[in-house]
């Protein structure tokens, strides 16, 4: 059923989330909060070298230390053949994943896991790590993406040959893949252009910087049954990857989803779980592992940094006639940067006749990248949206007008192929135009920037169960970890369908043995896909309730209607019966067929893409180069806000992460290829005093493929901020910043250079 044009009682309101009290009282159980009898502590030995051949690992002294129960190295993991599959948040090669969890042959980045120990205390585990003797043959390393592409660069993988070039290369390279997207004839387009802007932009890898470090607890029982308690964006993902990396059956692994303390894409793959299971398998005890903050930075995924070139040509009236982009994305130590979406997203918002985009996926001696909110899109959009601002300045056009002129609409064919349908970009631009922030004059000394963002959003496999309890209250179970309030939105959709108050619906996240397969929480898919499954399950329950009422009244089921949580005879012909409410039907359920439950599994398609536009006012301290965000407004098409507060929260949080990416966040390496700022002191995420209130403006262009019209909302808001801020700086201070982060030393240097 579709509820888009119906009047809604629950969806669109702002009830308190079902797991709220646990989370404000400290009772919520995150992965590191669990203990087990006889539990051991697992710790990982990590490479101090950015690139080294592992000559030998001698663990005998560590094994001999009292209190140490197990030591594992790559030798304790099966060697896996190269096999690419798409089970997580991007193409994942299980051999690479295995080698990322435990280095085999070579350490490919500082922080790469080499061995792990399990001991009775953390202190003994630390001492054991110090007793492991690793002999290295230190190799030359490469950190920078363009340096890694050079002919004479140290090669990370001697079996990596660039894919996507013809003829296939015979020499290994750090370029894993070249991808191209072409529409029309870019060169012909540029020939017609009245104005051309060009630029070279670079971005630095940034970490998702969830506040909860990775943690898990695992037990391998003598009968081969494995239980894992961990924090991830998908416990089915943890099960699948752990099984694959250790050669286990899925049915022998049960993963309990702990509460997850933030992920943003960074918890869509495994680091610790297979290691903890391997340790437990070796000693028969439960093993708990948790990363330190330093390990999180050195060994878990940031997103790519990139070097980019862009060229855009337009007519005098602002009509863009050609666009070209070269994107070089860092993948970290193993192939798999988000270069595909990078190539697709930057120009996806615009109706362009001639486009040429080439992308490179490049490995270097950095931690393997992981997904981070709209993977790939913020990077390319920094270049595109800054270049568009330059174009607007060059044409003396309002930057909003320029975008309106070229905006993608329903029917616009994108440069990567598909045609847009049911998109809300022009509605977003209309909302910008109408917003008091956009209409207000820019304050003296400040500059205002505008930038836009696009993300596909995804659907995929989700399972949900709806149980009507004996007293008429409801439990909704899904397989989607709740990373930002999805229990609330799922419960609300179920309550809406059942016609009951949301407070009577308890939403839980069920473990891998208790619910059908559910793809991970990511790509902004949970409210869309899991919401669809839960809605359909609630509808099945309603059908069942109607059947039971019909049975009670001895009338045909077609003569029963369900309204506001009660069964009514449909019209006077059906008979005069007192309505039966959920509690009554639940109480009588043993007589009408037993427990009332429904389970639905879907592979949801048709996630509507999301568009956003951010307006940002900044002031610049010209003497120190410090930028202050004075006002920030984020407009986004959200389809339908199920719980508007959590939708706003996604937008505000994404914008704040983008502000950090824009201004201060970066990985700083020394000349040995070691990260110099692996902590929250010098990896500078925004603090409360760094940001103003962030106004989230919800535009609702319903997605017809979702029962309530919802679109994913979590990805888009991180895309525009870097360019919005860059454009605001350009207009406040007169300098175009091409390199992220736009930190004070860089901005001061740019200002000095501009003033000669």
């Amino acid at each position: 059923m579709n509820y888009i044009d119906t009047s809604l009682k629950v969806v669109g309101t702002r009830p308190i989330r079902p797991d709220g009290v646990d989370k404000v009282t400290g009772r919520a159980v995150f992965a590191a909060d669990t203990r087990a009898a006889g539990m051991l502590w697992g710790k990982v030995l990590r490479s101090p070298h950015a690139h080294a051949r592992i000559v030998s690992i001698d663990t005998s002294k560590a094994e001999a230390l009292a209190g140490v129960h197990a030591v594992v190295t790559a030798a304790d993991f099966p060697e896996i053949v190269s096999e690419e599959a798409f089970v997580g948040e991007g193409p994942m090669n299980f051999r690479d994943l295995s080698m990322n969890c435990m280095a085999r042959g070579k350490a490919l980045y500082e922080g790469h896991a080499l061995a792990a120990v399990a001991a009775t205390t953390q202190e003994i585990a630390d001492r054991a790590l110090a007793l492991i003797d690793v002999q290295y043959d230190v190799l030359p390393h490469v950190i920078d993406v363009e340096a890694a592409m050079a002919d004479d660069a140290p090669v990370l993988h001697d079996d990596l040959f660039t894919a996507g070039v013809d003829p296939a290369p015979t020499k290994p390279s750090n370029v894993a893949k070249v991808v191209t997207f072409r529409k029309g004839d870019a060169e012909a387009g540029f020939a017609e252009a009245d104005v051309i802007v060009e630029g070279r932009y670079t971005t630095q890898p940034v970490h998702q910087a969830y506040i909860e470090p990775h943690a898990c607890m695992a037990t391998y029982a003598p009968d081969g049954q494995v239980s894992i308690h961990s924090s991830s964006q998908g416990h089915f993902m943890v099960r699948a990857y752990t099984a694959k990396l250790l050669g286990l059956n899925l049915s022998n692994i049960r993963v309990n989803p702990a509460e997850i303390g933030g992920g943003f894409g960074g918890k869509t793959l495994v680091y610790l779980e297979p290691v903890a299971v391997a340790l437990s398998r070796k000693c028969g005890r439960t093993v708990k592992m948790q990363m330190t903050r330093e390990e999180v930075f050195r060994a878990s995924g940031p997103t790519s940094g990139a070097a980019m070139e862009i060229k855009i040509g337009a007519k005098k009236d602002g009509t863009i006639v050609a666009a070209k982009q070269i994107l070089k994305y860092q993948a970290g130590a193993f192939p798999g940067s988000p270069i595909g979406p990078g190539c697709m997203c930057g120009f996806a918002m615009y109706d362009l006749p001639n486009v040429d985009v080439v992308g490179y996926d490049v490995v270097s001696n950095r931690p393997k990248v992981a997904a981070y909110r709209a993977p790939g899109a913020p990077i390319t959009s920094f270049a595109v949206e800054c270049a568009l601002d330059d174009l607007a300045l060059k044409l003396d056009l309002d930057p909003l007008t320029l975008r309106e002129k070229n905006a993608a609409k329903n029917g616009t064919k994108t440069h990567y192929g598909p045609t847009h349908h049911n998109i809300g970009f022009t509605a977003v631009l209309d909302a910008v135009k109408a917003h008091p922030h956009w209409k207000s004059p820019v304050k003296e000394g400040q500059g205002r920037g505008l930038a836009c963002g696009f993300w596909f959003n995804i659907g995929g496999e989700s399972s949900a169960q709806v149980h009507v309890n004996e007293d008429g209250t409801v439990t909704a179970a899904t397989g989607s970890p709740d990373i930002g309030g999805s229990r609330a939105s799922i419960g609300m959709m179920v309550a809406e369908v059942l016609g009951v108050p949301p407070t009577t619906v308890r939403t839980i996240v069920a473990d891998t043995a208790s619910i059908g397969f559910t793809f991970l929480t990511g790509g902004s898919r949970v409210t869309f896909a899991t919401g669809m499954a839960a809605t359909q399950a609630a509808e099945k329950v309603v059908e069942d309730l109607k059947r039971r009422a019909a049975q009670t009244w001895e009338i045909p089921v077609e003569a029963v209607e369900w309204k506001d949580g009660k069964a009514y005879p449909a019209g006077s012909n059906a008979g005069a019966f007192e309505p039966l409410d959920l509690a009554t039907l639940a109480l009588k359920s043993p007589r009408t067929g037993g427990p009332i439950i429904a389970e639905v599994s879907v592979n949801a398609q048709g996630a509507g893409p999301g568009f956003g536009a951010h307006i940002c006012d900044v002031s610049v301290d010209r003497e120190t180069g410090q930028v202050t965000i004075e006002r920030y407004t984020a407009v986004q098409d959200v389809g339908k806000a199920i719980h508007p507060s959590y939708v706003e929260g996604q937008i505000q949080g994404g914008a704040a992460q983008g502000i950090g990416w824009a201004l201060n966040e970066e990985y700083i390496y020394n000349d040995k290829g070691q990260m110099e700022n692996p902590g929250f002191l010098d990896y500078r995420v925004p603090v409360a005093s760094d940001v103003p209130m962030i106004e989230a403006v919800l535009v609702e262009v319903p997605n017809p493929r979702h029962p309530f019209g919802a679109r994913g909302v979590g990805e888009v808001p991180i895309i525009p901020p870097m360019a919005a801020i860059g454009n605001a700086i350009r207009r406040a201070a007169g300098v175009r910043m091409h390199d992220l982060p736009m930190s004070p030393p860089k901005l001061r240097a740019a200002l000095d250079a501009a003033s000669g």
Binding site: E123, E294, E623, T624, G625, Q626, L663, N664, I668, E676, N677, F680, L681, D682, R684, P686, V687, S689, D690, S743, P744, P745, R748, A749, D752
Partner: protein
């Protein structure tokens, strides 16, 4: 089981004996906001921790003949709440206040900030500028030294193995005196200073500077006093010419390094910028114009 032991002596003598008798590395614990981080990272591996907070007088602020005396283990939050200190030494107070978060303020101390001997320590340029002295106790008794004699290099102090700081003394304030501290950080909070600058001045009734002390942080291996910068102020009102000379003197004294927190070029420029801005605040305060917090 670790070999690390802990003692919380209740007298100076007891503390000195513990330090002197320690067989391995002994560390004095006051606020612990640096020490615990260093221990956790493995950079410091003490065998004995001597917690000084139970020694009478180590926590608290008192006035003695126009001087303020601050116990070495007094947490930042307590100093900030002290009306007399805020009026007489707003620069010292705001510098201490800039160390870390509210949480850190609940623990951090002047002694810890000074003895950690980081060139970027926020309270230290303000203490240098203030002409503060440190009262040091140890096996050989008690000595009072200017604070600038305590740090001798990054992470190194002039204190002996059995010595620790008992208290700080801030000199009496003549009329029309004040001080200020600013630091530059990339965010608004929670960072280590890229450059810090503390200035203390006394003016005459016409607004002409009669004495000045200028200190810079994070531009050399230790916090440094910059006599040339002070000289640029003495005998002058804070006009454009004086500010330019101050800026130049601060830049000339800045000998920073390139590191993850800033480049040489940037730090030198910002040293000049901050010196001008800090001087403006200190002069205003000395003339009773402003008493704002310099965030």
């Amino acid at each position: 089981m670790s070999g690390l032991s802990y003692a919380a002596p209740t007298s100076v003598d007891e503390a000195v004996k513990l330090l002197a008798g320690a067989s391995g590395l002994a560390k004095v614990l006051s606020g612990g906001t640096d020490l615990l981080v260093q221990m956790r990272s493995g950079r410091v591996k003490p065998d004995l921790i001597v917690d000084t907070k139970k020694i009478p007088g180590l926590i608290g602020i008192r006035e003695e003949n126009g001087s303020y005396v601050i116990g070495a283990a007094t947490p930042g939050a307590m100093v900030e709440a002290h009306a007399g200190m805020k009026a007489a030494w707003p620069g010292v107070v705001e510098a201490l206040d800039l160390i870390g978060s509210t949480q850190i303020q609940g623990r951090c101390t002047l002694a810890g900030n000074l003895c950690n001997a980081s060139p970027a320590a926020d309270s230290v340029p303000a203490l240098f500028a203030a002409g503060a002295t440190a009262v040091i106790v140890g096996g050989k008794g008690r000595r009072e030294v200017p604070v600038e004699q305590v740090p001798v290099g990054p992470g190194r102090t002039s204190l002996g193995k059995d010595e620790f700081i008992l208290e700080f003394r801030l000199p009496p304030r003549p009329a029309r005196s004040s001080d200020a501290y600013l630091r530059f950080i990339p965010r608004t909070e929670m960072d280590i200073a890229v450059v810090g600058c503390g200035i203390s001045v006394t003016l005459d009734d016409k607004g002409v500077c009669t004495t000045a002390r200028v200190a810079l942080g994070a531009v050399a291996p230790t916090v440094v006093l910059v006599p040339d910068a002070a000289q640029a102020l003495v005998g002058h009102k804070l006009d454009a010419d004086t500010l330019a000379k101050l800026d130049a003197a601060a830049q000339a004294a800045a000998k920073p390094i390139n590191d993850k927190r800033g480049t040489i070029e940037y730090r030198v420029k910002v040293a000049g910028v901050l010196a001008r801005r800090v001087a403006a605040i200190a002069f205003d305060r000395a003339q009773g114009f402003v008493n704002g917090k310099a965030h």
